[in-house]
């Protein structure tokens, strides 16, 4: 059974605004590294935000781990979200907090309000955060402020934060497009290794086709909100890419 099933998903930002996504359907299996490619403005970011309902879908169904995402009340939505880790293009770290606090913030879904107020996380969470930081290679920077780090290091903090949740799915929203090519490859490699080790499937929104071809096993191609391709990465070829990116050339 696929971990994530998306059926006939449609989305728009405002009631009368243009349709951003039109009848998108796809499945993510438990061991997939799934890529969404397409030119900018194709609706990739909206699609990925529909999965954890940062953007509400207008119609269609999303089933994650047997739960229907689109119809959950607020409390269950939060407990669903803590099962889905997310890594952002602009890292979305809390700049003025330390690396440690940023990583710990991945556990907020499991933490009560009083503990949140005093930033008093349980010992096991701190332990886990240290392990995560060790794995992403940042253990020396534990007490630095997040805005003191370089772009690549900041994204590593983002990865550690997402994995702190103990997620069953990782959403990657253009994780490398704010980084330079060499760092991009390192970060993608790190994400892939960690995802395999923790057995977490990934849904990755990616602009750089070469990276997608190298790291992903399946992909869908979006163009202007419409799915143009769906299949294993091996089946993707230049002609199909040209078709997907046709708009961008113009």
């Amino acid at each position: 059974m696929p971990i994530l099933e998306v059926r006939d998903l449609c989305a728009r930002y405002t009631r009368s605004g243009p349709e951003i996504l039109k009848d998108i359907s796809f499945d993510v299996e438990a061991d997939d590294f799934f890529a969404i490619i397409g030119p900018s403005g194709a609706g990739k970011s909206t699609l990925i935000r529909c999965i954890n309902r940062l953007v509400a879908a207008r119609s269609g169904s999303i089933t994650f781990d047997g739960r229907s995402v689109t119809s959950l009340p607020a409390r269950e939505l939060r407990s669903l979200r803590r099962d889905i880790g997310m890594i952002f293009q602009e890292f979305n770290l809390i700049d003025r907090m330390s690396v440690m606090d940023n990583v710990l913030s991945g556990r907020l879904g499991y933490t009560g309000n009083l503990r949140t107020l005093f930033r008093a996380f349980p010992r096991t969470d701190v332990q886990r955060a240290l392990e995560m930081l060790h794995r992403v290679g940042l253990e020396e920077h534990v007490d630095k402020r997040a805005d003191e780090l370089s772009g690549g290091q900041r994204q590593r903090v983002g990865i550690a934060r997402a994995l702190m949740q103990g997620p069953k799915l990782l959403l990657l929203d253009e994780p490398t497009s704010a980084l330079d090519p060499k760092i991009s490859r390192e970060v993608m490699g790190l994400i892939k290794n960690m995802a395999q080790e923790f057995a977490v499937p990934c849904l990755c929104n990616i602009h750089d086709v070469n990276l997608a071809m190298e790291f992903c096993n399946k992909m869908i191609g979006l163009q202007d909100g419409v799915k143009m391709f769906d299949g294993p990465t091996a089946e993707m070829d230049q002609a199909k890419l040209d078709e997907i990116y046709a708009m961008e050339v113009l």
Partner: protein, 278 residues
């Protein structure tokens, strides 16, 4: 080559005459504004200064200088009596600011467009609170609170608190409206609730700015608290008016020096507070 460029320029650019004409027109409209302002000034001076002033009583320049001269000198004997009121003034300013900050929390929360809980009701309510607080002078607030809670420091603290809410809340709300939405999205994505978003994504971003505003307002509150004694709300102001009413003019100067002294203390503290915040 050069000649074609030349003709092109001539076709598009304004001639010197036209430029001068535009400038002349602009000068005329400026002149009209200045003339209107001048008429207002002359009229106002006539009403407020020439007609209203009792020139007889004021007398010559020499006698004005003489009455100003009465303030020269310092009444050293008064200093011991100033220590307690000066400390009181300082404390009233501190507690007033603190209370203002506490009242400010709901005001800023409701008054920030992006996090206000129920936009059609709470947002206008908070804006009304801010405007009311800022538009009423501290003397008027102090009068009101003296009537309600009686003479003493308490009325002063309330007056300062209510008076500071407007500015602090307005600046805080603006800071909250200007935050980077990225961290908010991140905390929501890990499954955080509204309070956690506030604590982790919003507060760290706006805290330095808000603390700066609070320190700024606290400095102003020190100035304000020194005059609250005028309406019986405690502190140095009371001594000031006592000196004034007994015509002890060097004493008045002494009190002003004391006020400047606490303001200086405030400036020094706020300098270090600012450094610590940033």
């Amino acid at each position: 080559m050069l000649s074609t460029l030349d003709t092109d320029l001539r076709r598009t650019a304004l001639s010197a005459d036209e430029v001068l004409a535009i400038r002349r027109r602009r000068r005329w409209s400026m002149l009209a504004v200045v003339a209107a302002l001048t008429v207002m000034v002359v009229w106002s001076i006539d009403v407020t200064v020439i007609e209203d002033t009792d020139w007889e009583r004021m007398g010559s320049v020499a006698s004005v200088l003489e009455s100003a001269g009465r303030f020269m000198g310092v009444d050293w004997a008064l200093f011991p009596d100033l220590v307690k009121p000066a400390i009181e003034t300082f404390m009233i300013a501190c507690l007033g600011t603190l209370l203002g900050v506490i009242i400010c929390i709901p005001a800023a929360w409701f008054g920030a467009m992006n996090i206000t809980p129920f936009k059609p009701l709470t947002y206008p309510l908070a804006r009304l609170m801010m405007t009311l607080s800022r538009s009423i002078h501290e003397i008027v607030w102090a009068l009101f609170f003296v009537a309600v809670v009686g003479l003493g420091a308490m009325a002063g603290i309330f007056a300062l608190a209510v008076r500071s809410v407007g500015f602090i809340a307005k600046m805080s709300a603006e800071a909250i409206e200007d935050i980077n939405p990225g961290p908010v999205e991140a905390i929501r994505a890990v499954g955080g609730n509204g309070f956690q978003v506030l604590r982790y994504a919003i507060l760290p971003q706006v805290l330095p700015q808000i603390l700066g505003v609070i320190v700024f307002e606290w400095e102003i509150n020190i100035r304000r608290s020194a005059i609250l004694g005028l309406v019986g709300a405690g502190g140095l102001g009371l001594v000031f008016f006592r000196q004034m009413n007994t015509f002890n003019f060097p004493g008045v100067t002494t009190v002003i020096i004391a006020i400047l002294g606490i303001i200086l203390v405030g400036e020094v503290v706020s300098y270090f507070a600012r450094k610590a915040v940033i």
